[in-house]
Amino acid sequence: MIKVENLRKEYGGKEVLNISDINIEKGEIVGLVGNNGAGKTTLFSLILDLIKADSGKVLSKEVDVSQSEDWKMYTSAYLDDGFLINFLTADEYFEFVGGLFDFSKTDVQNFVQQFEPIFNGEVLGQKKFIRQLSMGNRKKVGLIGALIGNPELILWDEPFSNLDPSTQIRVRNIVKEHSDNRTFFVSSHDLHHIAEVCTRIIILEHGKVVRDVKNSPEMKEELFEFFEVK
């Protein structure tokens, strides 16, 4: 699904990302962990062709993402508020995103209705623009918006931060329940959630991949050990 080849990115002469090889298959749930500045968001931005790689490339379905726009039709992401349209209501935002994939208004409404427990009556059907929503609610809109239109690849940057504990667990369950035939690539600082839901874990440190392993009980221990403060 996604293949990263010799990808390098630097800012102001300082290397922030240098990945020789990552190969993600369809159906995997990949967790990306690493301390601040490890390069997680940079990697996501490169996969989405939002920033220019200094060398190397990202292939999506064997096609270089910087040379084609085909990936835009099956890829979705929520990295930050730049993926929200703040002058729309949440319903209109979902309708807009769905519309890009020829979903009717009712299709979209029925689809997002199943996430009502997450929205908790504060988002759907409200006469409020997204810019008026709280940070947590904006995040919920962004995460659910990324599920609309049957994307095959979903990138979520820190989906658990700023959410209440129950919603964090609900979001975790969404990943499990919606992972058939699609790939999740999720970054997080929450090791518990990552260890719980991901089938594979990649640890980044100073822009380099230091671990890339299938999840297992042993891996879980190693993961916690890695981030132990000595």
């Binding site: 939002l50 929200l84 349209i85 002058f87 008026q132």
Partner: protein, 491 residues
């Protein structure tokens, strides 16, 4: 309680503002622009006395000047309402600190007085005062003039502050007010009313009798106190959650049926209607439609020239205002547009069609001029197609390079962000090319009709090829996309 050095913080925020540090060319251009306005006001102030003697022979110069000042006051209030920034939020960070709230509000209110818009009238009135008032008027009249000017500036500042921050003032009301003001001027110049003679007697009375001087002082002080109490009550550290219900219930899904570009067009219309800044541009554009009524025939320019100029502005003003910042309007959600479900070509197609549509709509709105002066409609018809081709192509080409971030919710339409030198410069070819084309056609065919037909044929042909131009711009943009998207992300 401590009183922080607000002035120092204000100075730092100015010194470190991205507009000043990152875009020197733009700052220079704005400085030049401000200088130009100041100089033209100075010169106008110097010759104002002569102009009044010319246009209103036999009338009292000082009285007429006072009449114009009174007439200008509501305009000034409206101008400030649309353009001036009243940054009430800038003191938010201090609210949780142990700082006296009254001191902060006093600072906030007083600082608003020291803006460009307060000094602007001085450039006009100071030379007039020196050249006309001082030598010719009595001492009491001279003082009265000063009171009127300063009182007007202070009142105007606080009244605008009040209507933009502490009242439910409606934008459509300002349109009505503008229409009334221009209507009076129009009727006055047509000699139908003598509205100005009432203003003249009011002004003369004001200058002669210090009792009247209390009026501006009372208004200024009253509004100041009202604002002080209002902010004391309403300015809290809590997030300001004004009820925004503007046009929320209107269904705007019309273009969705035309595919992805159509969806983006629907989005653009919502942006136009719901974002403060885009909306104030829109209102300014509609005001242009009344140009011919206000100006009548500007004989000095030559009739054809004014038809061309007004026609270009009338059918192209929305496109000019909105199009020059084409992609910048989407700064805040540009990453979504770049990565999700639509291609870059969809974006450019949506932008082209929405701008072309705006030209068509404004064109239709000018059709009633057929009863006033049919030639306006004839010229507009030809110029419509120039605007839907050449002008929009220029904006699209500019958008393929332009990387100025715009926050469409920022109230003031002339705030620095998103306003670059290129934006003033692009006005030149957009005006010059069609006017040149007309005169070439006119010379070639030896008649005005020839010039109009040239515009029409060139415009229609160029409009037909819009798909090719869109593709070319998409290619240009694709090459610059990282640079542009990065600039849009920067706060």
């Amino acid at each position: 309680m401590k009183k922080p050095n607000f002035l120092k913080h204000a100075w730092l925020s100015f010194r470190r503002s991205p507009a000043l540090t990152q875009n020197i060319l733009q700052t220079l251009f704005l400085a030049f622009f401000g200088f130009y306005i100041a100089v033209s006001f100075l010169v106008s102030g110097l010759v104002a006395g002569e102009l009044i003697r010319d246009f209103f022979p036999g009338r009292d110069v000082l009285g007429m000047a006072g009449a114009f000042l009174i007439y200008y006051l509501p305009m000034d209030i409206l101008m400030r309402y649309f353009l001036q920034k009243f940054p009430t939020l800038s003191i938010k960070p201090y609210l949780l600190l142990p700082v006296s709230k009254s001191a902060m509000i006093h600072y906030l209110l007083r600082r608003s007085l020291f803006s460009f818009y307060s000094f602007l009238p001085l450039f006009l009135t100071l030379p007039f005062f020196l050249v006309e008032v001082l030598p010719n008027a009595s001492g009491i009249e001279a003082v009265g003039f000063v009171v009127m000017v300063l009182g007007g500036i202070v009142s105007s500042n606080y009244i605008s502050f009040w209507i933009s921050k502490a009242s439910d003032f409606n934008n459509s009301f300002s349109i009505v007010l503008l229409l009334l003001l221009f209507g009076f001027l129009f009727l006055e110049f047509k000699g139908i009313t003598s509205f100005f003679s009432y203003l003249e007697s009011a002004a003369t009375a004001f200058f002669a009798n210090p009792v009247w001087w209390a009026i501006p002082i009372f208004i200024s002080a009253g509004v100041y106190l009202y604002l002080f109490n209002y902010f004391k009550k309403h300015l809290t550290a809590e997030k300001e959650s004004k009820d925004e219900t503007y046009l929320q219930n209107i269904s705007l899904g019309f273009f969705g049926r035309f595919g992805r570009a159509g969806r983006l067009m629907d989005l653009e219309i919502r942006l136009l209607l719901r974002s403060k800044r885009a909306r104030s541009y829109l209102l300014m554009s509609f005001a242009i439609l009344f140009f011919p009524l206000i100006m009548g025939n500007t004989e000095g320019l030559g009739e054809e020239f004014s038809y061309l100029l007004f026609g270009l502005l009338m059918t192209g003003m929305i496109a000019l205002n909105h199009g020059q910042l084409m992609l910048s309007w989407n700064s805040l959600h540009f990453d979504l547009l770049l990565s999700r479900g639509n291609t870059i070509q969809d974006i450019f197609r949506a932008k082209y069609y929405i701008l072309a549509l705006s030209c068509l709509v404004t064109y239709i709105l000018t059709l009633p001029y057929v009863f006033y002066d049919p030639m306006i409609v004839v010229f507009n018809t030809a110029l419509l197609f120039i605007n839907t081709s050449f002008s929009i192509y220029m904006y699209m080409a500019l958008a393929s390079y332009n990387s100025l971030r715009v926050d469409p919710d920022e109230g003031s339409s002339f705030s620095m962000s998103g306003f670059g030198a290129a934006h003033y410069l692009i006005g030149i070819p957009i005006m010059v090319f069609p006017i040149l084309l007309f005169y070439i056609g006119k010379l070639g065919f030896g008649s005005t009709t020839g010039g109009i037909l040239t515009l029409l044929v060139v415009g229609v042909l160029a409009s037909i090829f819009h798909q090719r131009v869109i593709n070319a711009c998409v290619k240009l943009f694709t090459g610059n996309r990282y640079k542009i998207a990065e600039a849009f992300r920067k706060v």
